[in-house]
């Protein structure tokens, strides 16, 4: 240790954007040991007042506005002293009085130290630590602060001395080292340069020392973004992350650099996803921009690496003990989480009394939930037990509107990915969201057979459970919640939807309460647990951004399942947002996902003329199972009734009363809720929603949603989804009014009220029980036609042909009283769960493309009448197998007379006939090339494309046996083929001679754009609804 005096040259650099400079200078003046020289660098034209009394200040003006450059400019003007120390001060760093003395003492003690840094504390509270040394991981792409921010300084770190790095703000740097190392690295632009300089010092044989007892107040104005328009710490996040990656790139071994660059992109993606989950949507962009910012600074990296290499005198391993390993990073992140959790807990811990009450209420609530769950499942088993038994036995549910429920995953995927529906002979669709909605059910073990079956079989229980959870946001009364849950589950039109197999309406009914719950929580309107005397716990319930995303997701599911609810749901979200005060934007974003997934329909509705019946018909479309239903008076829908209510045999009561009892009870309860005057805002909201729902239900029922086409019967809208919204609103009003109703009033009035409530509850229980008995009454006619059937529908020989690359279609014909009924099948049974092509009221396709008209009917007539041969026209449309349904002896006999058909098998699943081509031996197929030769060249096809590799092909025509549509394109050896006209209205291309590889495909670009938009919107909502970012638990790095 040398006793020679050290020269301390303080350099205060200001960018002119801080107001703290006078205080900084005052603090310098107040030092017990003053610096020998004080330089203040400010931008031109800035004057931040005179220096404090007794402090000589050398003012200079710098235009660079870069910290390192400003310091270098000062040093250039003042020759170096042999033992000179630089005291680098920012305009927001104020040393405590003995700071410099302690730092200088350390500098004298540690002569090898190039950097001697103080502990940084908060500007406004010097007992709280801000920084006490920095480290980084072995890779170097993550800065690790060696002290938790805002940790209380109790001297616990006073032993710390050697650190990898420390903030240069307020640090002493030996001028000799500063000049040798070349000052701070400009490529960092201020973020990460301290660590870089310190690490270079270590590498060059110097030490970096921290002096925990020397305290420096640091306002962190740069970090907190005050210099960048005051957008908070998030504003500098991108710069900091960029600095971290720059650090990693300059310090890692050369072979790792390319890997780091790849990792950088992957990391940015993963972090972006995490940001979505945290609902930090603004940070998504910051994270995604980081790799590109790094790439922009990449040219600086070779220079940095060269300087590091040149200046190195210590081996790399010398700093290794300072670097943080994987486990250290884990500890670092976990302690950040725990700290946030502890802070929340400390802030929101209830009193013991309240905690006890909440615990007791939780116990009661869980018991009630268990009871409702058991009751709901019992009701489901009573009503649909035969279905559940059949599902266990390997059978599936099926019905006229439902179709078969054993749908292969690949079928649904092809439908939603390609946008080409295979209904009838095929048609282009504008959206494939319904098939996408069914994908999860198909992907799960058991497939749609089990999961759609369970959705229908347990539809009552599922709806009851959603209503239970949703009602918790409006009331804490367990009786009210239980009754509301069961009433919602047993809503007559829900039962009708289940029995009809209207999967969309069932999904909407089950999901609506979740959407309502999510909107309530997103706006912070949910009730807390009722404790004490009129208080709630927690007393203030914050709006939840995750819930807003949950609302977006559930609304998207609802509008896919029941598009008619798009308009009312968006309206509800918009109105709710308007009342949600500060959470309004969060609530309003919930409308984005449903709007985007409905995009194609909205565009089509707009093009049809926004306020026409055509537009409404498009908005009210039913993509999934649909069925014609009788138009009823609005009051019947208010009670959940269809046009005809079946009474109970042996019970001499009108069917309307028997079936409508639940509806009557709900309406009566809602009326009482209104009359009670309790929770008027919520009751108003509920009743408003109910009015909208009822209107939608009535309007939907009076709209033709499936126009009559050449390929199917028409259907009007189902009142169910609208009535689900309506009953949701009514029950919301009931729930809101029931909150604390038991404890309201006092004395005699309260006793009377309690008696009335008790009677009401018992009466409601009676209505629920009666409704179950009525619905499960043996011998009563079924509401709909859904029933269990064997999972196999077609003869094996027929399904085999469907799965071969020839993709033959199977035509099933069956006798009826007046003729014949047919089904054209691509799978084992009619699939209606994949969504149909959207059509205008006149039956034309919204996605364009031609409708071939009645192609099949004349063919089927020929088959039924044992007339002229239908072989050629069948082959022309790729029908390779004709099946006479079992028991259809008339048409079966006619088929056996047709010379062109060949019997290939008869079984309990029907009698199958093969349709051969009239010329040549090639099998009938979906696509083929007709040439001059006799044999057609058959392409290997799937639902949306196909190809063939052949040789010696003559000039010919490629024919795809689907109706003409724009999206079809074909190529031969990579060259696009020209479309040619086909007399039958099929897709046809001219194939040149000698083509070796011929392929065709369906691709609709508009569809693809909307498809990806919907995926992004729903994916965003799904990730965002993970409740990661909650105000109570904010451990988010910004």
């Amino acid at each position: 240790m040398s006793s020679a005096r050290l020269l301390v040259r303080a350099v205060v650099v200001s960018d002119g954007r801080s107001t703290l400079l006078p205080e900084v200078l005052a603090a310098v003046a107040a030092q017990s040991v003053r610096p020998d020289v004080v330089h203040v660098v400010t931008p031109a034209g800035e004057d931040h007042g005179a220096a404090p009394e007794g402090l000589e200040v050398d003012r200079s003006v710098d235009l660079a506005a870069d910290y390192g450059a400003s310091v270098d400019a000062v040093l250039a003007a003042h020759p170096a002293h042999s033992r000179e120390l630089l005291w680098l001060l920012h305009d927001d760093t104020a040393p405590l009085p003995d700071a410099l003395a302690l730092l200088v003492a350390a500098a004298k003690r540690r002569t090898a130290a190039a950097v001697i840094a103080p502990a940084q504390v908060r500007w406004d509270d010097t007992s709280r630590l801000v920084g006490l040394g920095i480290s980084t991981t072995r890779v170097g792409a993550r800065r690790i602060d060696l002290v938790d921010e805002d940790d209380i300084n109790q001297g616990q770190y006073d032993e710390r001395e050697d650190v990898l790095g420390a903030s240069l703000a307020g640090a002493l740097v030996r001028r000799e080292a500063w000049e040798r190392l070349g000052g701070v690295e400009p490529a960092y632009r201020g973020y990460g340069s301290s660590l870089h300089l310190c690490r270079r010092a270590w590498s060059a044989g110097d030490d970096v020392v921290i002096v925990p007892t020397a305290l420096m107040r640091h306002a962190q104005e740069g970090l907190d973004g005050l210099r960048h328009g005051g957008r908070g710490r998030a504003a500098t996040y991108g710069l900091r992350r960029t600095g971290e990656w720059l650090h990693a790139l300059s310090w890692s071994r050369l072979p790792w650099v390319p890997l780091l660059l790849v990792w950088m992109f992957l990391s940015a993606l993963a972090r972006a996803v995490l940001r979505i989950a945290q609902n930090e949507s603004r940070m998504v962009g910051a994270d995604l921009a980081v790799p590109w910012r790094v790439l922009a600074r990449l040219p600086a990296v070779p220079g940095m690496r060269a300087r590091i290499r040149r200046g190195a005198s210590r081996p790399r391993s010398a700093v290794r003990p300072f670097l943080v390993g994987v486990r250290g990073v884990g500890t670092h992140v976990r302690s950040r989480e725990l700290r946030a959790y502890d802070r929340w807990k400390a802030a929101s811990a209830p009193t013991d009394m309240v905690a006890q009450e909440v615990a007791a209420a939780g116990l009661r609530r869980r018991a009630a939930l268990g009871g409702v769950l058991v009751a709901a499942i019992t009701v489901s088993v009573l009503l649909h037990g035969t279905w559940l038994r059949a599902l266990i036995g390997g059978r599936m549910l099926a019905g006229e509107a439902l179709g078969v429920t054993d749908v292969p995953l690949s079928y649904l995927w092809e439908r939603t990915w390609s946008g080409w529906t295979v209904e009838g002979l095929g048609a282009p669709a504008t959206d494939g969201a319904f098939a996408a909605l069914m994908l999860p059910a198909a992907a799960l073990p058991g497939g749609t057979r089990v999961w759609i079956g369970l959705l229908l079989g347990l539809g009552v229980a599922l709806a009851a459970m959603s209503a239970w959870f949703a009602s918790g946001a409006a009331t804490r009364s367990l009786w009210a919640r239980a009754l509301i849950a069961l009433a919602y589950g047993l809503w007559p039109l829900h039962l009708q939807a289940i029995s009809d197999g209207r999967v969309g309406a069932v999904v909407a009914h089950v999901m609506l309460p979740w959407a309502a719950l999510a909107i309530a929580r997103a706006a912070g309107w949910h009730r807390g647990e009722a404790v004490g005397d009129g208080e709630e716990h927690p007393p203030v319930r914050l709006a939840s951004p995750s819930a807003a995303m949950g609302a977006a997701f559930s609304s998207a599911v609802i509008v896919v399942a029941a598009p008619v609810l798009l308009v009312p749901l968006v309206a509800v979200i918009v109105v709710a947002g308007a009342f949600a005060r500060s959470a309004r934007w969060r609530v309003w974003t919930a409308a984005a996902a449903p709007l985007i997934v409905s995009g194609p329909a909205l565009v089509a509705a707009w093009e049809a003329g926004p306020l026409t019946s055509q537009a409404w018909a498009i908005l009210a479309r039913e993509p999934g199972p649909a069925l014609a239903s009788g138009v009823t008076a609005p009051w019947r829908i208010l009670l959940g009734l269809t046009d005809h209510s079946r009474g109970v045999p042996g019970l001499d009561l009108p069917g309307t009363l028997v079936v409508g009892a639940v509806g009557l009870a709900v309406v009566a309860a809602a009326a009482l809720a209104l009359l009670s005057g309790r929770a008027p805002a919520r009751v108003a909201a509920g009743l408003g929603v109910a009015a909208v729902g009822l209107t939608v239900a009535v309007a939907a029922q009076r709209t033709v949603v499936v126009p009559a086409t050449a390929t199917g019967a028409e259907a009007n809208g189902f009142a169910g989804p609208g009535s689900s919204l309506m009953v949701l609103g009514l029950l919301t009003a009931v729930a809101a009014a029931s909150f604390r109703a038991w404890d309201a009033g006092a004395g005699r009035a309260r006793a009377g009220r309690r008696l009335a409530l008790s009677l009401g509850i018992v009466a409601a229980c009676g209505v629920i029980a009666a409704a179950v008995v009525v619905e499960a009454w043996p011998g009563r006619a079924e509401r709909g036609d859904v029933h269990p059937v064997d999972a196999r529908v077609l003869p094996l020989v027929a399904t085999l042909e469907q799965d071969l690359p020839t993709r033959q279609r199977v035509l099933v014909v069956a006798d009826t009283d007046a003729g014949v009924r047919y089904s054209l099948l691509e799978t084992d049974g009619t699939v209606l769960l994949a969504g149909r092509a959207d059509r205008a009221l006149d039956g034309s396709l919204l996605a364009g493309g031609s409708d071939p008209g009645q192609v099949l009917e004349p063919l089927v007539t020929l088959l039924a009448g044992s007339g002229a041969t239908a072989q050629q026209p069948l082959a022309d449309w790729g029908v390779g197998v004709v099946v006479a349904a079992p028991g259809s002896t008339q048409v079966g006999g006619a088929l056996s007379q047709m010379a062109g058909l060949r019997l290939i098998g008869a079984s309990e699943y029907g009698t199958s006939y093969r349709v051969p081509r009239t010329a040549g031996d090639a099998p009938v197929s979906r696509a083929w090339i007709e040439t001059g030769g006799t044999d057609a060249v058959v392409l290997d096809a799937d639902g949306r494309g196909g190809e063939v590799v052949t040789e010696g092909l003559e000039e010919g025509r490629l024919i795809v046996a689907v109706p003409d549509a724009d999206g079809w394109q074909a190529s031969a050896d990579g060259v696009a083929l020209e479309r040619v006209d086909d007399a039958l209205g099929r897709v046809a291309f001219a194939v040149p001679a000698g083509a070796a590889h011929v392929a065709y495909e369906y691709e609709d670009r508009t569809y693809r754009v909307w498809w990806w938009a919907a995926v992004v919107a729903v994916g965003w909502a799904m990730i965002g609804m993970i409740p990661l970012h909650d105000r109570r638990h904010r451990a988010v790095r910004r």
Binding site: A633, L687, L794, G819, G865
Partner: protein
């Protein structure tokens, strides 16, 4: 929002619900949903006609040593008419437009004239006639002239309604099957038989043979009547022979109320008790028809009915017990002449006359295959004429469209039969084609 404004809002929202329930009923409903099936029509391939063949003796050939008591007879003349005849079982098929078989059995159990016009195979046909009462036998003969086998379902109707038992039988291509209805629907005095067949159909005929004790009570072929329709005509009713009786047999599958009229050369004859006659669904009803020499019955019903008339002609028994009488019978199926199509018939032996009913005034002409006029007569509306006919057996006669007519076959001693003309064009078959979900092999 203050509490007061909230209250106002709640009341307004409640009013909105009530208003929605009250006012939305005014939203116009779309057109009523009607998904009419595609109505296809197909003209089937022309199939050969078939005739059932010779009559069989219900009890078999029993020889007693005394020819008068034998069930069979040596005096049998079988006359089959029609070109390109080919054997089909005991019967035959013909590629011509018409064909006929006439058989005269001089003695034994089945003595009498039995004539049958050949018919085309059909998927559904109604045979009105025959009896399985004691002493009677009804033999259903199913002939398949087509090139594919067919499965035939036979349903029986009697005076008590539809018989529970049905018969399902398969008939090979070009083959014939016969079955005795008394084995399925015994003791059914009035029989209506519905024959449905798969594929291109089948040709059905019933041999109606009756015994009155030891005396023959008549034999004839029952050929299909017109499919149940609201307006039917039976021509060739009645006989000039002494003691002849006529019975009308009616059946409405779904029940019907109908009016009957008996037309003669002088217009409508008096026939009491047959106005607004009610038929129970599926119940076979018989009505006694007043005796006329030559007449026609018109049937106007409010629901589809099918019908046929039977005429019985008595004759004295030679060498028999005193007062013993033998009978012969002839069935006249109902025709639906409202289609306005001409009909043709192949003349068999013993043809003596043609009975014509004119619903409107007009000239009725019979022409042969060469177009030569054989008979022509102008009739006034609602009258019947019996026109003597003398043409060679095997001649194909075509009558004017719009008239109901039938050939009368008679021979001594009191043998009668009838030959009914048929449409020779191929009728297009209407097929309602509907599209539907196929979810299970029903």
């Amino acid at each position: 929002m203050t509490m007061r404004w909230s209250r106002v809002g709640a009341v307004l929202a409640g009013a909105a619900v009530v208003a929605a329930a009250a006012l939305t009923g005014a939203i116009p409903a779309g057109e009523p949903l009607a998904s009419a099936p595609y109505q296809g029509e197909v003209t089937p391939d022309q199939q050969p006609l078939a005739c059932p063949g010779q009559v069989e003796i219900p009890v078999g050939q029993i020889e007693s040593g005394d020819a008068a008591l034998d069930s069979g007879s040596d005096d049998v003349a079988y006359d089959a008419e029609g070109e390109d005849r080919q054997g089909a079982g005991a019967g035959f098929t013909t590629g011509a437009d018409t064909g006929a078989s006439v058989e005269r059995v001089g003695g034994g159990d089945v003595a009498g004239l039995a004539a049958a016009g050949c018919t085309a195979p059909s998927q559904e046909q109604w045979l009105v006639g025959g009896s399985t009462a004691l002493g009677s036998s009804a033999r259903l003969v199913l002939t398949n002239p087509t090139e594919a086998s067919t499965e035939v379902t036979v349903t029986y109707y009697g005076p008590l309604g539809q018989v529970d038992d049905r018969t399902v039988v398969s008939v090979a291509a070009g083959g014939q099957q016969d079955l005795l209805i008394e084995g399925v629907a015994a003791e059914t005095a009035a029989l209506v038989t519905r024959v449905t067949a798969t594929g291109a159909g089948v040709v059905a005929a019933i041999q109606d043979s009756r015994l009155d004790g030891f005396q023959p009570a008549g034999t004839d072929w029952v050929v299909p009547s017109a499919s149940p329709a609201r307006s039917l005509v039976i021509a060739g009713v009645g006989s000039a022979a002494d003691g002849a009786e006529t019975l009308l047999r009616l059946m409405a599958p779904e029940g019907a109320t109908l009016d009957l009229a008996l037309l003669t050369g002088q217009g409508a004859a008096t026939w009491g008790g047959v106005s607004a006659l009610e038929l129970e669904p599926g119940v076979v009803t018989e009505v006694v028809v007043p005796q006329v020499d030559a007449g026609a019955i018109t049937i106007e019903a409010d629901a589809p009915v099918t019908a046929a008339a039977m005429v019985r002609v008595p004759r004295a028994v030679i060498d028999g017990p005193r007062d013993a009488q033998a009978w012969d019978l002839a069935w006249s199926p109902a025709q639906a002449i409202a289609d306005g199509m001409p009909r043709s018939v192949r003349v068999g032996e013993h043809t003596t006359a043609v009975v014509v009913y004119a619903p409107t005034v007009g000239t009725f002409t019979l022409t042969d295959a060469s177009g030569a006029e054989v008979v022509s007569r102008t009739l006034s509306a609602g009258t019947v004429a019996s026109l003597p006919l003398d043409v060679a057996a095997g001649t194909e006669l075509t009558g004017t469209a719009g008239f109901a007519w039938e050939l009368v076959l008679e021979d001594s001693p009191g043998f009668v039969s009838r030959l009914t003309p048929r449409r020779t064009d191929v009728e297009p078959i209407g097929v309602d084609v509907t599209r539907g979900a196929y979810v299970e092999p029903s």
